[in-house]
């Protein structure tokens, strides 16, 4: 297990010896996982390897059966998604990032609405939120027809970029992108990869989860590969080729 990525700083996240059991099924069996400052980590593994379970442990959706999580060097408990968020961990799930039937603004500020009012009576400050959403998205190069437009009417790439823009706007330190490019066209994929690198440029750390080795390879500094709940290894980009990674995922070749 290598903890040294780039620089010698404290990792943003260090998950140690994570075990997660569901009844008799062991989804994760003692996995270590590290993300360093300003690093894009590609998290790879076949279906059912434990990628999403690991992420759900990190984001407070699941509590680990065993193991510790350190965030910026501090040991933390992450019992709920709210806690994960408060720490600065933002997740952009493929299907769980946005609510298609709601407007861009309402999605952008969901759970962190800007309100005004007197005492206990508060209401949404829609004009303020509309303006802030529009500007925050313009800032990373996303131009919208209207922030009141329903998210369901946008393209897949636009949706991902809204989720990324939102994470950046709310000061996320760690951005988790879960299958951000599956079901996207080549052009849209390119945009999402560019936004991912933009996010890193602006100081974020990113966990990039994907089935598509080609896409991960374009953006990740390091690859963490898991198989059947076990860590296969960590590899920097100059250590492995795309083909090596594919083989490591399926278990055709051991390190």
């Amino acid at each position: 297990m290598s903890m040294s990525g780039n620089g010698g700083d404290t990792p943003v996240v260090y998950m140690e010896d994570i075990v997660k059991r569901f009844g008799t099924i062991t989804a994760l069996d003692g996995v270590d996982f590290t993300v360093n400052q300003r690093e894009v980590v590609g998290l790879l593994g076949d279906n059912g390897a434990g990628k999403s379970t690991l992420i759900k442990v990190l984001t407070g959706v699941h509590t680990p059966t065993k193991g510790q999580i350190y965030f910026e060097g501090q040991k933390v408990d992450i019992p709920s998604p709210q806690v994960a968020r408060a720490l600065g961990i933002e997740t952009c799930y493929q299907d769980l990032a946005l609510i298609p039937l709601m407007s861009v603004t309402r999605n952008f500020f969901l759970g962190r609405e800007v309100t005004r009012g007197f005492g206990p009576v508060t209401w949404l400050d829609m004009p303020e939120m509309d303006q802030q959403a529009r500007e925050a998205l313009k800032d990373i190069g996303i131009h919208l027809r209207s922030p009141r437009e329903k998210v369901g009417k946008l393209s897949g790439g636009e949706r991902q970029s809204i989720a990324i823009g939102r994470a950046r706007y709310f000061g996320a330190k760690l951005l988790i992108l879960d299958e951000p490019t599956s079901a996207l066209s080549v052009g849209e994929t390119h945009k999402v990869l560019t936004y991912t690198l933009n996010a890193k440029e602006r100081g974020l750390s990113v966990i990039f989860i994907s089935h598509n080795v080609g896409h991960v390879y374009q953006v990740a500094d390091r690859f963490t590969i898991i198989r059947r709940g076990h860590l296969v290894g960590n590899y920097t980009r100059d250590e492995v080729t795309e083909n090596d990674i594919a083989d490591l995922i399926t278990g055709e070749r051991e390190k």
Binding site: V61, P81, Y93, A97, I99, L110, G111, L124, M126
Partner: protein, 335 residues
């Protein structure tokens, strides 16, 4: 060429209409009103209109709760039974010597608690609310029958001020019409609650969370929305509004029978769906379902005035329900 531009215009018009989930309800309402004004002799009279509003107000309170709950992605089939329980609780506690006001507050507390129990069953066990509240529909009906001894409960003292305050006849207004109209105070409370709930749904954080919870609970949870608490609150609110409807009706009729409210749960769902609320959650408004319930009330009154057997009402209501859903589906189609 011109056919193409016509199609394009139609599509654009459809998109614009789809922005308003209540559009179909409003259009249906106007069409039905138009038909009745030509074919039912006494339809455009103050009596008919005031009846529609007075009766619609009581059911409307339930509809608002059910609609908000449906937007949050859940059903409540037990509202008809809660409606009966609330009236029995109020009547029996007054007959047991409790003053009208504390007795009413107790009845409302019971209603809200029954709603909360629905919510707890759904949130804790994860069973579909359709099944959970089908169960509590039977259970709460049993409570209503049980505490009422299977018989009527009446309040026979002289009318307390609270009854007048809740649902008194607006006599000074009514006598201005010939024949005398039947406007009641419930209309005022209903409008007030509708405005408040519409504000709650569209302009507050809670409302935003209701839409998010029904639209995509996973995403809502991932964004830090306390999905379970939102559902619990929506169930409790539905129970409370149903209780309010119940005491309002009791204040008018001063009696309650064991079958009171039976079948209203489906009327409330029908009104909500006609009003543009999606069965799958995440879409809807307060205004739409309010128009929906007024439409159903109008239908019932209008058919009576046309001399059509009241038995036909359900057939026509069913047809309008289906037409509305088909129209709403057409409007929200994304192509």
């Amino acid at each position: 060429m011109s056919a193409d531009s016509l199609t394009a215009n139609l599509t654009r018009f459809r998109y614009r209409l789809a922005q308003f989930p209540e559009a179909v309800a409003l259009i249906s309402f106007l069409i039905v009103a138009l038909i009745f004004s030509f074919s039912a002799e006494h339809f455009l009279t103050s009596v008919a209109i005031s009846n529609i509003l007075s009766f619609g107000s009581v059911q409307g309170l339930i509809v608002i709760g059910v609609a908000i709950l449906m937007i949050a992605g859940e059903f409540d089939l037990s509202v008809g039974s809660i409606f009966a329980v609330a009236s029995f609780v109020w009547a029996l506690s007054m007959n047991a010597g409790l003053a009208p006001l504390p007795a009413m507050l107790f009845a409302l507390l019971v209603s809200a608690t029954l709603g909360l129990i629905n919510g707890l069953i759904v949130v804790r066990t994860g069973i579909p609310s359709f099944i959970a509240t089908l169960g509590t529909m039977l259970a709460y009906r049993g409570i209503a029958r049980g505490i009422g001894g299977g018989d009527f409960a009446k309040y026979t003292e002289s009318t307390p001020f609270l009854f007048t305050f809740l649902n008194g006849s607006l006599t000074k207004l009514n006598v201005l019409f010939t024949p005398v109209a039947n406007f009641r105070l419930s209309i005022l409370w209903f409008v007030l609650v509708a405005v408040l709930m519409s504000f709650l749904l569209r302009r507050t954080r809670f409302g935003n969370w209701v839409f998010a919870t029904g639209g995509n609970p996973g995403a809502a949870l991932a964004q830090g929305v306390p999905v379970r608490r939102v559902k619990l609150l929506a169930f409790t609110l539905t129970g409370l509004l149903t209780g309010l409807a119940s005491v309002m009706q009791f204040a008018h009729r001063t009696s309650v029978d064991p079958l009171r409210g039976e079948g209203w749960e489906l009327i409330a769902v029908a009104a909500s769906v006609i009003g543009g609320v999606h069965l799958t959650g995440g879409v809807g408004s307060v205004v739409g379902p309010v128009i929906g319930i007024l439409l159903l009330q109008m239908l019932e009154q209008g058919l009576v005035l046309m001399g059509v057997s009241v038995q036909i009402f359900r057939a026509v209501a069913g047809a309008i329900l289906m037409l509305s859903v088909i129209l709403n589906t057409y409007l929200s189609r994304s192509d």
